[in-house]
Amino acid sequence: MTDDRLPPVPTTNDGAAADDGTAATDDGVTAVDGERAVAAALRRTAAPPAPPADVSRLVADAVARADALDLVDVAYAVTDSPIGPLTVATTEVGLVRVAFGTEEGVVDELAAALSPRVLFLPDRLDDVRRQLDEYFAGRRHAFDVRLDRRLSRGYRRRVLEALTAGVGYGETATYKDLAVATGNPGAVRAVGTAMATNPIPIVVPCHRILRTGGSLGNYGGGPETKAWLLRHEGVRLLF
């Protein structure tokens, strides 16, 4: 306690601030009025809040400094694309999440699953965003980014790894193909689940997996998005 050198305080019944309507004792009336005036002046002349832009710059500076100190476990950004905004997130390992849209829920999930030190830090995603731009412009057929696959586990992860390695730009395969490729010919449904829970869509190309017979099947970003991506890659859809 370094600051307990209080000035003499006029006696009031409980020491409440003047604006709380505490009745003043007789000899405290003037002082309490004076303090009420001071409090009112503080409110009236409140140091003007810095313009919002100013605070966001300060926040960005502070976050950049925290990042330099390795205190940011998950960095995220939002990037625009022809199929709508995408939320992208990276850890120190690599790209960990691509999500359709900008829902707060995505960032909340990252905090719960990885670390609460999640910050909006677009600089850390410049490379990924540039590669996505190139992909959507038709100038890039393969992504060259390190992936952090820790959001998928076990068989699902194996399926997604097989998908990344085995099904290239403009190609398609079926759920059955992937089940066979991962040594579980009967695991078609599990492959479907792996696709549905792919944390890194587009970069891990689950849109290239179709139903046996060629129908689209489901897609996290919606079937229209899946169709858009496949046509973008030059695939002729049968349905």
Partner: protein, 185 residues
């Protein structure tokens, strides 16, 4: 699948470290903390206003950055999530005190020119008033600003200052008394 292996919150209690797990890893976290970005989105503007009011625009900006860095460092070890705002302001308050101590230790015997420029040019009285606020002892300063600039309840001010609610009230009141004396002198 969340299992309650640790106690809920209130572990330790009493002192102002009570929000922080002292032995991270010894007990699994029992709270799911929101993304730190959400805290910044919600509280950065108020935190900045507070720090500018108690420390002036220049030191306030520095304290803001230090508060964010310190908070982020400690964040994953938090064992409670019921008063994250109070926790942030506790850290901010400490940064202001640290800075004031440092300045006192390295004081040059020349008064610094008052830090002006962030108040309305025509409000000279207001400038004097806010300069007087920044000369208050740290606890009073912090309490007065939280109460009368940010409209915070006494319970929350107490949390940020690490004192009782009665002591928070007392600090606000003592601060106002001193300000009245100064501005009417």
């Amino acid at each position: 699948m969340v299992r309650h292996r640790g106690r809920p919150y209130g572990v330790g209690g009493g002192d102002d470290e009570h929000l922080t797990g002292r032995t991270p890893g010894a007990l699994s976290p029992v709270v799911t903390l929101p993304p730190f970005q959400a805290l910044l989105d919600e509280h950065a503007a108020d935190l900045h206003r507070y720090l500018v009011a108690v420390a002036g625009p220049h030191d306030g900006a520095d304290c803001f950055q230090e508060t964010v860095v310190s908070a982020l460092r400690a964040y994953p070890g938090l064992r409670r999530d019921d008063n994250l705002r109070g926790w942030l302001f506790t850290i901010a308050h400490r940064k202001v005190i640290d800075r004031a101590r440092h300045a006192a230790r390295h004081a040059v015997p020349v008064a610094e020119p008052p830090d002006r420029g962030h108040l309305d040019a025509d409000a000279t009285g207001a400038e004097d008033l806010w300069a007087a606020v920044r000369r208050l002892p740290p606890k009073q300063r912090s309490a007065v600003v939280q109460r009368h600039l940010l409209d915070r309840p006494y319970a929350e001010i107490a949390e940020a200052l690490g004192c009782s609610e009665a002591a928070a009230r007392q600090n606000v009141r003592a601060g106002l008394v001193r300000l009245r004396e100064e501005v009417s002198a």
